[in-house]
Amino acid sequence: MNPPYIHQAPSVSAIMLKVLLALLPGIALTIWYFGPAILVSLALASLTALATEAAMLKLRDRPIKPFLGDNSALVTAWLVALSIPPLAPWWLVVVGVAFAISIAKQLYGGLGNNPFNPAMVAYAVLVISFPAQMTHWLAPHGLGATEIDFISQLRYIFSGALPGGTAFDAITAATPLDTLKTQLHLERPVKEILGMPVYGYLAGKDSEMVALGYVAGGIYLLLNRIITWHVPVAFLGTLFGVAGLFHLADPGLYVAPLFHWMSGAAMLGAFFILTDPVSGPTTPKGKLIFAAGAAVLTYVIRVFGGFPDGVAFATLLMNLCVPLLDAYTQPRVFGEKGGKK
């Protein structure tokens, strides 16, 4: 029996549960705009995550119950499911989540010990191994050549068969970021590209709404003190700044900063991925540098790289810097010289 004898903290599982709750607005909007296929991915991902976690804990001879109940595997699972196309073969999400939990999390020592964000490791593995499946997203309503109902989507997910006469390309589309890149390669000016029907008010049609859903969830996390302002502000601020500079330099070649905010995984990254405490830095200054670095890398990969989005790789690269960031940004302790008065 050791002091203190009283505690008042949300448990790890309560914190993780709140993260899951915060993802709900984004998920709801995804369903609203892109149909319920995402629910299948989320269910598959959740089951895989729990099964893999339990199996790995057993292999590692660790207690299963407290760790399965901490909800952290579910957070990883949902983030993986949300970063890959909803209409994808079932094994894609299963492979991704299983890899995230077994290799990226448990082999490093499980909860609290993984140096890299497991969901982003999974995304990186999938996008490199299965680029075709990873870049075909469901087209927004009314934009695909045809639309198939939920039953047909289910059949496709589990058997790979589409209703007779439907081509896969007819129901999917490249992401708005991808389209922009392709069209820029064709030397069309930004203004003309953004006039395409795949774009909405600020960025991709419908997907920008989902991004707003993530913002809502992020604000919920901020208000509940699950995350601090440092990462979202530094990430979005830097992304805005870098994109703004390029946009000012040549608006014909570089899209406006708000487009970058509302595209791809920017909002998911700012509030849910880069804010992962385990793989991120702990000091306030470290968090600012970490998120700013991730924003610069995201922009560079998006604009000058070959991948459709840069958040995952930017996160992983910045994860590498975390020990250094922590070591070099230690705050002044009470009574240390040179402090603020």
């Binding site: 029996m1 050791n2 002091p3 203190p4 004898y5 009283i6 505690h7 008042q8 903290a9 949300p10 448990s11 790890v12 309560a14 914190i15 207690p63 407290p66 760790f67 901490d70 952290s72 020592g109 499980g110 909860l111 609290g112 010990n113 405490p277 385990v278 991120g280 702990t282 000091t283 922590d326 230690q330 705050p331 002044r332 302790v333 009470f334 009574g335 240390e336 010289k337 402090g339 008065k341």
Partner: protein, 557 residues
């Protein structure tokens, strides 16, 4: 209105003050038997001046301060000393320590009390009185008061801070003391002011004790002492934290309040000083909150040495389902299970535990680096890093991360979502580091000694060699100068042998027992008889031994 400052972090645990603060404090009766540890303060154990069987009067010295860092212990009532022996004590180690046990005679007769006018007294003399009166810091650290107020004239005390914050939940002993005996506290503060001669005197009280603030303000009117209500935030009662809040000054890392011209003392200490100096009563009792799972939580003026279960009984007894006690508050207190443990100078509160009030924690999970601990740390530390280094026994690193600035307030522990016993890790690392330092100091000393020895041996060797060389040189020179003839050499050899024999004879004469010179004839006869007996015995023994060897050889043969 004073501008207040704030420190980083802090937590807001549930107060639980009203349970015990509503009732006025009650004087607890003298228990039948009192256990008085001789170490109730920081420093060296006091040296007992009584023995088992001695009759003592109330206030009589039981043990005097041993060395500079020590304080005296007195008999809290009149009676008989049963024993001065080792007993288990309320201390984290659980190790037994020397205690004086007194059987009360029920008379409660005072020894002679000698109040004094402190303004007429010399400061050094006053400090000696504090030491011999057993006055120590009653805020928890039990630092001997005479040392705290041993201010060198070069160090100007700008601020004297009286700590009435009482930030730990459940505890209300200082609250009641300030409400009921504000005037006496102020008289004690005057003594401390006389010792420290500070520029300003501030009393810091958390604003969850409005009655105490009012009472103290009334008592301090026209004294120049300012009573300041500070925001309720744990651990505002931490010395460094309260100084920061009141003055904005930060006690340097690894330093003392004196380094920023501040002295900080508990209000209960000031009260004890008043009782000692103005009334001539040494430190033999204190206010103790008895709360938690008891029928009527309240405060008692308890004699030191009173078993805590006696106080619990006075508070109506423990409620069913209670188990164990916390001495002190729930954030930093000490868990004990023995009810017969005594009230000591640092015992400000006894909380009776129950699983309902203090539910057991689920098993600890790994750290998820959420930094809630860092957000709560009042010393601006990074507990998650300290924990990491403590766990991996990386003690060099942990020192660089300012482990020794940790005040063990438990705020990090309180907010940890993984329920990691952080404070335990930090205490472990601190004691390991202290042990390592001790070890390396010992090793350095041993090395120094070894090196000195090697040096000495080398030096001796050299000196010997030099002497030998000189001798040989001299001998060679002598040989060269003397004519080399065999006869003379032989002659000199003979002479030398003769001389050596002569010397040996002289030495033999010198070692002859001198007490044989002047003996009476009777004594000489006795000696001769004894010698004869010895010789006979020797002969006999020899005969037996040879017989045995013969037997042995026979058997072998």
């Amino acid at each position: 209105m004073k501008t207040l400052h704030h420190f980083h972090g802090g937590v807001h645990p549930e107060q639980h003050k009203l349970e015990s603060s509503a009732l006025p404090s009650v004087c607890a009766p003298v228990p039948q038997r009192l256990i008085l540890p001789l170490q109730q303060h920081l420093g060296t154990r006091a040296k007992a001046v009584v023995r088992a069987g001695d009759k003592v009067l109330k206030g009589q010295l039981l043990a005097r301060a041993a060395g500079a860092m020590s304080a005296a212990i007195h008999a809290p009532t009149s009676g008989t000393v049963l024993s001065v022996d080792f007993h288990a004590l309320p201390h984290p180690s659980g190790l037994p320590d020397l205690c004086a046990i007194i059987e009360a005679d029920g008379e409660d007769l005072w020894a002679e009390r000698a109040p004094c006018d402190f303004r007429a007294a010399d400061r050094a003399e006053l400090r000696a009185k504090l030491r011999d009166g057993g006055i120590v810091g009653l805020g928890g650290a039990t630092f001997p008061a005479h040392l705290k107020f041993d201010c060198k004239p070069a160090r100007e005390i700008r601020t004297l801070v009286l700590n009435g914050a009482e930030c730990e939940p459940w505890i209300t002993s200082d609250d009641r003391l300030m409400r009921e005996r504000a005037a006496e506290i102020v008289r004690g503060i005057e003594i401390l002011r006389y010792l420290a001669s500070p520029g300003e005197t501030l009393v810091g009280i958390e604003d969850n004790k409005p009655q105490a603030v009012t009472a103290m303000r009334q008592a301090c009117a026209n004294t120049g002492i300012e009573v300041v209500a500070v925001p309720t935030l744990y651990p505002t009662g931490g010395e460094k934290q309260l100084i920061k809040v009141l003055t904005g000054k930060e006690v340097p890392s690894g330093g003392y309040p004196l380094h920023v011209g501040v002295l900080c003392s508990n209000v209960a200490t000031a009260y004890a000083a008043h009782r000692l100096i103005n009334c001539g009563e040494p430190m033999i009792s204190r206010l103790v909150t008895v709360t938690g799972s008891v029928r009527t939580p309240q405060n008692f003026e308890a004699l030191l040495g009173t078993p805590i279960e006696e106080l619990v009984k006075l508070a109506g007894g423990a409620l069913p389902g209670s188990a164990g006690y916390i001495l002190g508050g729930p954030m930093m207190g000490l868990h004990v299970s023995n009810g017969w443990l005594p009230v000591v100078k640092s015992t400000n509160c006894v909380i009776v535990k129950s699983p309902q009030l203090f539910p057991p924690l689920p098993p600890a999970l790994p750290c998820i680096r959420c930094t809630r601990c860092a957000d709560a740390c009042p010393a601006d530390l990074q507990p998650q890093e300290l924990y990491w280094f403590a766990k991996s026994r990386n003690f060099d690193k942990i020192k660089n991360y300012h482990l020794f600035d940790c005040i063990e307030c438990g705020a990090c522990n309180y907010v940890c979502p993984s329920h990691i016993p952080l404070v335990q890790y930090f205490r472990f690392a601190k004691s390991e580091l202290r042990a390592l330092e001790h070890e390396s100091a010992a090793a350095a000393l041993a090395r120094e000694r070894y090196e000195y020895r090697q040096m000495r041996i080398e030096r001796d060797k050299q000196e010997k060699a030099e002497k030998l060389a000189q001798k040989e040189k001299a001998a060679l020179a002598a040989r060269q100068s003397a004519p080399a003839t065999g006869v003379s050499q032989d002659g000199s050899a003979q002479a030398r042998i003769q001389a050596a024999l002569e010397r040996a004879r002289e030495q033999a004469a010198a070692v002859k027992p001198k007490n044989m010179d002047s003996l009476t004839s009777q004594q000489q006869a006795e000696i001769a008889e004894i010698e004869a007996r010895r010789a006979k015995a020797r002969e006999l023994a020899q005969g037996q031994a040879s017989g045995k060897t013969e037997q042995a050889t026979d058997e072998h043969g």
